[in-house]
């Protein structure tokens, strides 16, 4: 039944290749010759992941700042983002079909809605973890609410916020491997173009994992750069 969907995606022409490729094996020479095929899916994958995380962070950050001073907002926001987090992304792709059709917009909505809870709850936990003494000291120095937030609370909450961002980035890389079902490409499309062929699966899947690790380390690097005081303590 799925043949119709994937028939046009075949990665290679079996007849003209070496015996290793014919056997669906793991063939370093084929991989070296065909790496170019994965460039476009990889770029799409990076693009979608980054856009989704940036939008997700912007929304979750605004929600968290809103709820930080108005505590009663925390339970309803947690519930709503919790439902969005629970809805399977694959189902969301198709539930959005009548509204946004197939393509990148649909994929992005699903990816963003999945990341909201992760980022939101980490920002809130981070802000809650700020020591009361630090707040009092800030107040004593005459900081306004806004100054207190940006100069004391957010910097101290940064490790927790970045931890949330790291979880969001790695899970989004994984979910982006599914957006081909919404017609938005990515490395998942490359994987399912030929699941029998070991070389293909290893390269496309490996790129996904590599991307997750690289982005994770990147966020960690940003965190270390932004919080020089934590290095001294450790």
């Amino acid at each position: 039944m799925i043949v119709t969907l994937l028939a046009q995606l075949k990665v290679r022409d079996r007849a003209s290749e070496s015996s290793c490729v014919e056997d669906n094996g793991f063939c370093p020479s084929w991989i070296a010759d065909n790496l170019d095929r994965y460039k476009q899916p990889l770029i799409e994958h990076i693009e979608l992941t980054l856009i989704a995380v940036v939008i997700g962070f912007a929304i979750a950050f605004s929600l968290a700042l809103l709820a930080h001073r108005r505590r009663w907002l925390i339970p309803p926001i947690t519930q709503i983002t919790g439902i969005l987090y629970t809805l399977p992304s694959v189902a969301v792709f198709f539930l959005l079909l009548p509204l946004t059709g197939r393509g990148k917009v649909t994929a992005l909505i699903a990816l963003v809605s999945y990341s909201l809870l992760i980022i939101f709850r980490n920002i809130i936990t981070g802000l809650d973890g700020v020591p009361a003494e630090a707040r009092d000291a800030g107040r004593g120095m005459g900081l306004t609410d806004r100054q207190l937030l940006w100069r004391v609370e957010l910097p101290l909450a940064l490790p927790e916020i970045m931890a949330g961002l790291r979880i969001a980035v790695t899970t989004t890389v994984g979910l982006t491997a599914l957006v081909f079902l919404a017609g938005a490409g990515g490395l998942g499309e490359a994987i399912f173009a030929d699941t029998q062929f070991q070389s293909n699966v290893v390269v496309a899947g490996g790129l996904c994992v590599l991307l997750a690790v690289v982005l994770d380390l990147l966020v960690l690097g940003v965190q270390k750069a932004l919080t020089p005081w934590t290095r001294a303590v450790r």
Partner: protein, 256 residues
């Protein structure tokens, strides 16, 4: 406005697909009661994967947490688990074990996906039990096994069920891509547009979403039921909302 009405119409068709059977363009029956085998296959796959994951991850997490050994293993499995996409895992099993049955391959892949949250939560749950309670139990002469069963397990249950919940919802969601490798679950209408049509795609999505939410709500209820009364008393309303989604104040930090 017209878009909204068109959308409503499509959702209407989708809901009718869920409840009434019809013939597709090729004349084979779909929808209604013909969804039941798909739902059954979906549940069977999820059940098998979760059972396998529980049998492996739960004892391992409890023992590691009890002995305090292997914290690196317990924490980093969940970091690594997040980085490996579900699709890649399923495809790896298909590509490297081409002769084993698809159902088994997908079950193994889904079980691997389900293990990290259960393992990590069981480990952390046991690790963070009140050391005074454990010392008191030891002073009363309880053996190591008794301490795990009578003290650490009950106190860690809320967190353990949080992990089981995360895994279950994740497995239900991921089982929808099983048809791509030949296991005909509820994902079949999603990927086989030509057989089920648009109303099939949307209808099956609704069923999958409902399954995931039912699992989430149901396991949350179990989680509340198994939470010892003492732990509930310590929490305020805000914490309860957090606990609903398996979030504790003591956060699991990702490895630096």
């Amino acid at each position: 406005m017209t878009l909204t009405f068109a959308a409503l119409g499509e959702f209407g068709d989708a809901i009718s697909f869920i409840f009434t059977s019809r013939e597709n363009q090729r004349g084979s029956p779909v929808g209604g009661s013909h969804n039941l085998p798909l739902i059954w296959e979906h549940l069977k796959l999820c059940g098998a994967a979760m059972a396998l994951a529980l049998v492996i991850a739960l004892p391992l997490g409890l023992i590691l947490g009890h002995t305090g050994k292997g914290s690196f293993l317990a924490i980093s499995t969940s970091n690594v688990g997040r980085a490996v996409p579900s699709v890649a895992l399923i495809a790896l099993f298909i590509a490297f074990l081409p002769s084993s049955p698809e159902f088994l391959n997908v079950t193994l892949a889904l079980a691997l996906l389900a293990i990290p949250p259960i393992l990590t939560n069981a480990y952390v749950g046991v690790q963070q039990t009140d050391r005074d309670a454990v010392d008191a139990a030891r002073g009363m002469g309880l053996s190591g096994g008794q301490i795990i069963r009578q003290i650490e397990l009950p106190l860690a249950l809320p967190l353990i069920f949080g992990g089981i919940k995360t895994s279950t919802v994740n497995v239900i969601a991921t089982a929808t891509i099983a048809p791509l490798v030949g296991v005909v679950t509820l994902g079949d209408p999603l990927v086989a547009f030509s057989v089920y049509g648009r109303e099939g795609q949307i209808g099956a999505s609704i069923i999958v979403a409902v399954l995931a939410i039912v699992a989430e709500v149901g396991l949350s209820a179990v989680q509340r039921a198994v939470t010892p009364a003492g732990i509930k008393l310590e929490r305020g309303p805000e914490d309860r909302a957090r606990a609903r989604f398996g979030l504790t104040k003591r956060r699991i930090q990702t490895a630096p």
